[in-house]
Symmetry: C2
Subunit: 428 residues, 2 copies
């Protein structure tokens, strides 16, 4: 049996342990929800205050020049690029994940509009907002959204036929933590003549991503989960260089214009991914996002060859392996099942458990104890989920041990059956 002392020994040997000093965490909280909203970088309050009081308050309109506001979406995009296997100049930080998905999916569908291909394929268990955007665009552009299970993607009888225009997948599933093989699936999609759109919401800052090496076509992702950019931080969009200058997205605002300050009456898209910008971006929110990105990039110091995500991935897997082992050692007979894949190559940076009853109440009871994970409701085809995200930047092996200790106590005491934990009034 693994003990708390064993876990403390792992922390003592952990080369990344100092990275947690970059963050402010609430007292008495073990935060296993960085996959929903990342924690506050210590640098963020001062940097945001500087943007507010100096750049806005003192610089005013002059800060477009003196603080280089116009460069922010691409300058921050270059930082994101280092985390997702993209090149400088290929990423912009802007708008929300949903709005960016609309842009890139529109561009991908434009590319396929004369091929006769009419299907957009995605997973039934994809994040709902992605399906909503795809549903809308399919209706608008004359395509059909086909929802499948992950198992139908490869092998004989694959759904990747010559009818498929775009395969739109979330790399790491938000409910299960299962991770796709981006390179293999992209190759299969391309072999069938389809383009790929990848949502990296639960990947960027969580697992290594190799967009160019995978030969992917389009990708978008979230700034406020594993990138620690703050609530509602701007999202990002990436477009492969072979497509970037060829296709346009329809949200053709001034910031994506080739000469935005000429105020010409006709739109002319900027070269490259700059054309995926639209209107004026929230400068204060971008400052928060940059502080978050810097916390992840700090891990580059620990793997000078392979970069930040290689360094973080080893610890992420060690944390999730430990959590799985402790749950299986200590929660025997408590009705919990592992939903997340055991194989490393198929696992993101989270562990999901299911239980016949009480998933919601158990999560609430844990939150009341300061162990913050979250709950995702199931339906006729999917079980209710207890979801725990493990961010190697600020979690220790002791945190994993303590969170399982609380889980054991919640289950063995039956405290989750108390009425207060069963009221489903939570927004999260």
């Amino acid at each position: 049996m693994t003990t708390l002392e064993d876990c403390r020994a792992l922390d003592a040997q952990d080369p990344l342990r100092s990275l947690r000093d970059q963050f402010t965490l609430p007292e008495g909280v073990i935060y296993l929800d960085g996959n929903s909203l990342g924690v506050l970088p210590k640098a963020a309050p001062a940097r945001i205050a500087e943007v507010v009081t100096q750049e806005w308050g003192q610089g005013l309109i002059r800060s477009w020049n003196t603080a280089s506001w116009f460069d922010l979406p691409q300058r921050l995009g270059d930082k994101v690029a280092r985390l997702i296997g993209a090149a400088p100049g290929e990423v912009v930080c802007t708008d929300s994940t949903s709005v960016n998905l609309y842009k890139v999916l529109f561009a991908a569908l434009s590319q396929q509009k004369d091929t006769g291909r009419k299907l957009v394929v995605s997973e039934r268990s994809n994040f709902p907002t992605d399906l909503y955007i795809a549903e809308s665009l399919c209706r608008e552009r004359g395509f059909t959204l086909k929802l499948i299970e992950a198992g139908e993607l490869q092998g004989p009888g694959s759904v990747l036929t010559d009818e498929v225009a775009v395969l739109m997948l979330t790399h790491v599933n938000y409910r299960t933590g299962a991770m796709h093989d981006m390179k293999a699936i992209t190759a299969a999609a391309h072999a069938a003549g389809a383009l790929t759109v990848w949502d990296l919401a639960h990947s960027a800052g969580a697992v290594p991503v190799a967009l160019n090496d995978s030969n992917a076509d389009y990708a978008i992702g979230c700034g406020y989960k594993y990138l620690n950019g703050g609530p509602g931080a701007p999202a990002f969009a990436w477009v492969h260089a072979r497509h970037a200058n060829k296709f346009e997205q329809p949200l053709s605002g001034w910031w994506g214009h080739a000469a935005p300050f000429e105020f010409t009456p006709h739109y002319r898209p900027a070269a490259g991914v700059g054309r995926y910008l639209c209107g004026t971006q929230p400068i204060i929110a971008l400052a928060g996002l940059e502080c978050g990105l810097d916390t992840v990039l700090a891990a580059e110091a620990f793997d000078k060859d392979e970069g930040a995500m290689a360094a973080l991935r080893a610890k992420s897997l060690a944390l999730t392996d430990l959590f799985i082992r402790l749950v299986e050692e200590r929660c025997v007979g408590q009705g919990l099942s592992l939903v997340t894949p055991r194989e490393h190559a198929q696992r993101g940076s989270q562990v999901c458990l299911s239980r016949g009853e009480g998933a919601y109440a158990i999560v609430q009871a844990l939150i009341a104890r300061g162990v913050i994970g979250d709950y995702r409701a199931g339906d006729s085809q999917m079980p209710d989920i207890l979801r725990f995200g493990f961010t190697p930047l600020y979690l220790g092996f002791d945190d994993v041990w303590n969170s399982v200790e609380h889980l054991v106590q919640v289950l063995e005491s039956g405290e989750w059956k108390r009425e207060e934990f069963n009221r489903k009034n939570a927004v999260t």
Copy 2:
């Protein structure tokens, strides 16, 4: 001749004078560019710091409940509603002006798609990003964008024929400061069977707007100009109640879903203007916007019947009248022409001047003296513009006098001819 002492006397009698205490202004600056980026409310740094350190840092994901993040777009929308003649529940604060224009113009075009009407009419001198978005949507949806001059809207030979699907106008022109008669033009558009989309970027917080009384159809506007919401603050969208539940916009993200936390795989639009929301919004930026909105709403105390904008309008006109009079008294023979209409009913809250040469350099020379206005380049049909915005919340009559004094000195000394002021390297 009006003297500085006369202006100081006007300030001494100004009932709104105390409103300027709400703001932090840089030392030595007369800020005549609130129509490009509003100034910093004194309350903003502390409120933003609270959101960063407490709601994000301490509350983390729990703040969706405890800080009511989900309600922000509509709660702030209700504050905007009080400034634009809309009802509670009719406005959302979200995304950028350009993205919101895409949503409402799409909805308006959906309404007209089976009528055979194929024209979207707008002004040639409309703000370019509006034209870019319209250009894109027209191409996509099978409409034609027809650009006209303001004079072609009414009277015999009006362009408002039975071919017009949508009339899309900016209420106050960004270059000239000319204001449309929203009610009369909306009536003329409706008489012709067209819908109206109004951009309130230079109106909200600047002039009284009566959307419901004007019977307008759709409107959008900017949060960071006269609403003082901070650089890139979220914008807003309004939809008349008669349309709000009938039509959808295509950016169908989770925040616009009828039951966003049920995570259902199919999109079902929220009732009312809530369906004009899309993805996750920048919470920190929304906090800045609320501080800005509160500075304008503070003027409600000065006109309990007609509201904040009625109180502010009288002073705005007094400021712009004074500026025009002083320029005409003191800059005789300097080649300046008034571009902004003299008639109050046709004037926004800015004054624009043109000059055969040197407009850019004169603006730069003024900025070097701390008088911040801005320059807008002309073309074969429009002259170069010196643009001065007058925000009654924080400008005094003495500021108007001093700004004209600087203008006189810049012109009479010929200092604008110095090479440093003639280099066009500015982003603004």
